[in-house]
Amino acid sequence: MPQKKGSATSSFPLSREEILSDYRLAYQSRQASLIGRREVLSGKAKFGIFGDGKELANIAIAHAFRKGDWRSGYYRDQTWMAMLGVMSLQQMFAQLYAHADLESEPNTGGRAMNAHFASRYVNANGAWKAQTDMFNSAADVSPTAAQMPRTVGLAYASVLYRKFAEANGHSPLREFKRFSHNGDEVTFASIGNASTAEGIFWESVNAIGVLQAPAVITVYDDGYGISVPNQFQMVKENIYAILKGFQRDDCMEEDCERGYDLYQVRGWDYPMLIETYRKATEVARGHHIPALVHVTDLTQPQGHSTSGSHERYKSPERLKWEEEFDCIRKMRAWMIENRLITDPELAAFEKEDYETVESIRKTAWDDYLNPILAERGQVMDMLEEIAGSSSHESELNDIKERLAAVPAPLRRDIHAAAHEALRILHDENHPSKQILAQWKNEQDAINATRYGSHIHSGSALKVEEVKPVYSADSPTVMGFEVINAAFDAALAREPRLVAFGEDVGKLGDVNQGFKGMQEKYGEWRVSDTGIRETTILGQAIGLAMRGLRPICEIQYLDYLLYALQTMSDDLATLHWRTVGGQAAPVIVRTRGHRLEGIWHSGSLISGIMNLVRGMHVLVPRDMTRAAGFYNTLLKSDEPALVVEVLNGYRVKERLPDNIGEMTTPLGIPEVIREGRDVTVVTYGACCRVSMDATEKLSQVGIEAEIVDVQSLLPFDLHGKILESLKKTSRVLFLDEDVPGGTSAYMMQEVIEKQGGYYWLDSEPRTLSGTVHRPAYGSDGDYWSKPNAETVFDAIYEMMNEVDPAAYPKIL
């Protein structure tokens, strides 16, 4: 598409009333930004980042945005979100104040800083709403460009929904009606100019182009990334210019080159913005052709955020230009010029709108502050009562007065005062002290929920265990055939299930888990992707948000590190940061433990696990358990990482008769060998290593009990390991992660959290891999990871300490 520049025409699609309404929203939003900064800088909020300067582009996008469409954007979308009602200006203030209440701040319940927008598509009861009736916004994350990977999946979902409808005689499956009308939904991404220098921007733009997914990506260009101008950000200082290679042929034929429609439009040019987005969206919606709109000439009237002043890095000339080209000022002039309204009429509206916003702000502030003031009142009453009959009367009165003097107290001020009082009263047996202590305990519990609920939805733990069933006819097959049979059954019973990754489609994955599945279920259900781990994950996140059930494959665990940021920042926190309002039931499939060499060893479990709290991390020791985990996860709406054991695909297992129904429960370890002397707590490939060691230990009279943890997150929910430790009083935590990695995590879980300490008769031990990555080759591996001999030695040493007469030193 050619670049369009111009101004309002007589055939403008919006009425005078709509235009005036747009102006007034832009003006109100601007007032909210100005007032918001004032609130922060007067100490009533901690940080503020606003949508000033981007109002008209926001409004143009919102005009093109239909119900069922998706936004995946960043913190300049305040006006857009206000216009669609995703976040009203009052809710904007509530979020600014960190009002931790879903009624007042439904986007993130006070958990995210301001300008983080999230529509609630999951009800409090866990049921998903009809997204086709909503203006949808994926919950924002702050890191630059981090909204891009999921944009791939959000947009690609429309492609799949359209294909599924076509395959169903151009009629959507019943399951899909709440998510899509024939794949007509467009995903609107927004990003700042400087963030386009991030690698994941390019990976995402490329993936969207390859998938021909209907995304309309806006790059807001105000010339800076905080203080750093474009000359340090991108070649030619112009993203539009450098994206030219992505532009498609201007034709719709099959053999035309596919790619993007590119647009460049000035951010103060209201009619042109309206026209550009109308057009870009129409093509994207109708033909699934993605677009990128470069909005130039934008300003940032208050600088980047409340943490700085742009006067410090912008030249007087630039500041003057920004004032002159302020989009609201330009629209105002355009309206008067086109005789839509007069200056005095506008001035009257502006005065009214300013007062409206101030009044909204005050309502939001009172809503936020009143419950806190009530809590302060309670504590002050209690302090007064105690002081009256305490030997610490003057100190308590002092605390009370200091608390009363805080102008806009935070809950922490109240709790610090209560805590100080209790400290002072520690040596006094005062009956009212208990009431204060009880109040504090109750409030602490409320606040723990207020800020800590909804890490998981809990649905995975509700899935009932179905044990594998074997009959005389159950065949013994290779491990990969077990997992293959499980995926076959899952694809057959669950039409929402799609699987993709590198080599997953045509090849059926590098270990044949999806062998024959693309042929059987079609290339839209089981598909190949480019080599792009972050956007493989992003693809899955977006699809899962839109109601599909993706299994995305990261070929080797070591390559998950590419996607770790997205997994950690976006996927793992999603349910929590929206207080249960959003969910993305992504299953990340990978294979790890026991390959060879520095970047294929698959051992980096703690590095990954500790960054994805909020996801389940499952480490099945064989393919039957893996299959059971997939079946469990597909019945829940929670995201999970499943690490299959790399050397398990060619090990024989019996194929359960109920491979499609059996489930492996989360958080339940399995004792895979009983013994009396030492408990070995391990997982994954180390299960086999420790089993080998136990045979050698048996020969010298030591019987080790092996517990396969299976599920690292959640970990042993019912204290099964403690039961073993009560018997043996000795424990070895074994894995091939780094020292102090997952072995230390397991030790903390068992020794500290489960109270295993009180059952220990010997020092608890860990045995892990080395600090260095595993060297290549079998010998390199042998001296980098635990093996049967080192496991033997670790356990034998423990027994030597217990009974040196029976187990004299060997080495």
Binding site: N429, S729, W759, D761, N800, V802, D803, P804
Partner: protein
């Protein structure tokens, strides 16, 4: 003015008592020096008298609770007098750390017993095990879980009979549990400790008591005039004293640095308290006593033991022990050494037996003398030399 009843100092080395029974309740009147409660220490049951007349206003320590010396037991005062709420008014705070739920199994410094693992500490607390009595078999003698489990099992299945079976003692429903008394538990601990400490060896000789019997018959009446019941026990103690004086190594204790020979000859005499157990009052400096004085001491201690009137110091400091198991008809026994002594002499029932003297058959009153000694200190020959001296003293009594 309320008067505080504190745990008195019950003799050297006693820093804790256990409240056994309150003889008065809150609200009862009590006279000065009237028995107020019963307590016991590791060997002694005793009464604590009221320090003043008045009404019992408050009882601070319940039955079964341990209490440290100086700790508040009760408050006595005038009727309706108010009691201060803080019970810790007299004794220092650090003396009052609650001992009801000991988290450490032993009050002895753990440096002596090495590292105690959490599970060993837990088991010791649950089973009231003094860890200094448990032998460690782990590296550097560490007490392992297995060691303490074995200790507890042995203790609970009887102090002497060391069973290796793992059978649960319970057989079914027709059983009654007799809860351990404090004294029962202490006896059990001492017995197990002794068997673990000393290698016990038994040697037996037979003594002809003719001359003792004759002497006793001749002097019984005379002694009775002084109010003394001349028992055979007095003769045995005198004979033991003669043996100890002739063979001082028998009057000793094994310590790590060497054999500690005691200058004092303090002979304990095991005294049965019937079903409640037994106690061993000590005749101090028995080597300085005539037969009359010995008999008087024997009478006095036995009577007061049965009446539970012994002072704590009267059961301490023994250097040798006599047990007269013959009283209940036993001929031969294998008594257990009263630690840290070197030996214990058991005396069987006196019976007239046919003996051969100078190739002639005679009928004589005979007793078996069963001497159990610590083989770390004595060897067979030296032990027999001591025992021979005892035998000869009895047989040649003049």
């Amino acid at each position: 003015m309320a008067i505080k009843v504190l745990v008195p100092r019950l003799g050297e080395g006693v820093d804790e008592v256990t409240v056994i029974k309150w003889l008065k309740s809150v609200g009862d009147s009590v006279k000065e020096l009237e028995p107020l409660l019963e307590v016991n220490t590791d060997k002694v049951d005793t009464e604590i008298p009221a320090p003043a007349s008045g009404v019992v206003l408050k009882i601070e320590m319940q039955e079964g609770q341990p209490a440290k010396v100086g700790q508040l037991l009760a408050v006595i005062g005038a009727v309706n007098e108010k009691v201060e709420d803080t019970p810790m008014s007299v004794a220092k705070i650090e003396m009052l750390k609650p001992e009801t739920q000991p988290t450490t199994p032993s009050r002895q410094p753990q440096t002596d017993i090495g590292f105690i693992s959490p599970v060993v500490a837990k088991i010791a607390a649950e089973h009231s095990v003094n860890l200094s009595q448990v032998t460690g078999t782990g590296l550097n003698g560490r007490i392992t879980k297995n060691d303490i489990l074995a200790f507890v099992e042995n203790r609970e299945s009887g102090s002497v009979a060391q069973t290796t079976s793992h059978v649960t003692p319970s057989t079914g429903t027709r059983e009654t549990l007799i809860k351990h008394t404090v004294i029962r538990k202490q006896i059990a601990e001492h017995m197990v400790l002794s068997q673990k400490t000393s290698p016990h060896v038994l040697t037996v000789m037979e003594a002809d008591m003719s001359r003792v019997v004759k002497h006793r018959s001749a002097n019984k009446e005379i002694f009775a005039r002084d109010g003394i019941n001349l028992t055979f026990t007095a003769y045995f103690i005198s004979a033991i004293v003669a043996g100890l004086k002739a063979h001082p190594a028998t009057n000793s204790s094994w310590i790590d640095e060497g054999i500690l020979v005691h200058k004092d000859v303090n002979v304990g005499m095991a005294t049965s308290l019937g079903e409640e157990g037994l106690i061993v009052p000590v005749i101090k400096n028995a080597d300085n006593l005539s037969l009359l004085a010995t008999a008087r001491a024997v009478n006095d201690l036995a009577n007061r033991a049965r009446a539970k009137k012994l002072q704590p110091d009267e059961v301490r400091g023994g250097t040798f022990t006599l047990t007269n198991h013959g009283i209940s008809g036993s001929l031969l026994a294998f008594p257990i050494i009263n630690q840290p002594q070197c030996g214990i002499l058991g005396v069987g029932a006196m019976q007239k037996r046919v003996v051969v003297i100078d190739d002639a058959i005679a009928i004589r009153p005979m007793v078996y003398l069963s001497f159990v000694f610590d083989h770390r200190i004595l060897d067979g020959a030296s032990a027999d030399a001591f025992l021979m001296k005892v035998k000869e003293t009895l047989e040649n009594w003049a």
